[in-house]
Amino acid sequence: MTKIEFTGALAKQLAGLPGQEIDRITAFYAEAVDDRMEEGMGEEEAVAALGDPGEAARQAMMELPLPTLMKMKVKESRDRTDNKTLWIVLAILGFPVWFPLLITLGGVIFAVYATVWAVIVSIGAVVLSLAIAGVAAFIGFIPYMLTVTPAAGLFMLGVALALIGLTLILIKPVILICKGLARLTVYALRAVKRLFIPDKGI
């Protein structure tokens, strides 16, 4: 395959995306071929080192925002339809079907993010409350000793130390859980994006 053939196949896979994005991606790969040829590699060899244009296109598309990919899917179906008027009519008639589906998809994505965020905030609030209670008990145990009984004061000191200890133990696992949850949202988003990326060969 020549450089032009590769970038051509690449651009074909990226059809429907904004021109600026297509240019950016093809320029990246053209540069990769040029750099290799500059070091003495033949054109065929340099292009072969890039792998499959379809795979390159798919990987590049995964990094684009979801709305861009959705618009690409719409454009693709529009370009595929020979009768543009028919397409417009069907799109309008089909509105009661695709619009609720779109809203549902948006709702599901929002729900995933909102749930994850809510869980993270709740866990954080629990740990914060433990910390505040522990510090308060630690500050208050001496006055408590003096105003109630020494035994009660000592008890409060014990409670304070237990709470502070619990907070310290929980900090690491909580951070891990939050990171894991954040990663979950990334996986979810990538799964949705993959729905919109064409899986066709050249």
């Binding site: 991606i25 320029a27 990246f28 790969y29 540069e31 990769a32 040029d34 750099d35 290799r36 500059e38 070091e39 080192a49 890039l50 792998g51 499959d52 795979e55 390159a56 990987q59 590049a60 995964m62 990094e63 990663r183 996986y187």
Partner: protein, 129 residues
Amino acid sequence: MDVQLKKGLIEICVLKALETEDSYGYQIIKDISPYIEISESTLYPVLKRLESGEYLEVYSVEHNGRLRKYYRITASGREKIKLFIEEWKEVMTVYGYISREIPEFEEHRAVKKSGANINHAEKGSDGND
């Protein structure tokens, strides 16, 4: 290797390749190829992600009549490298334990079975503790 793990490792390798000096696509691939499987298809998304995360900056330089994209690491990029080294210290300890213990266990089993005194050569690990 797990895909996401590999992508994370490639990210950190790219940042490391830019640590001492700015570099460009093909040079980065040459620098990190000995350590991890990398090609342009995997590099492009990684560079994009690092750029949107502001771990690196992009700028163009004219080279032999064409424009070549160069990448420069940022302060957050350097932080990310430090964080990786810190996080993986524990992984390396576990790896040391796992890879060291098993051959010794096998050797103990062999000694017990034959009842003889086997003169075994330690392969670079620090002897029995």
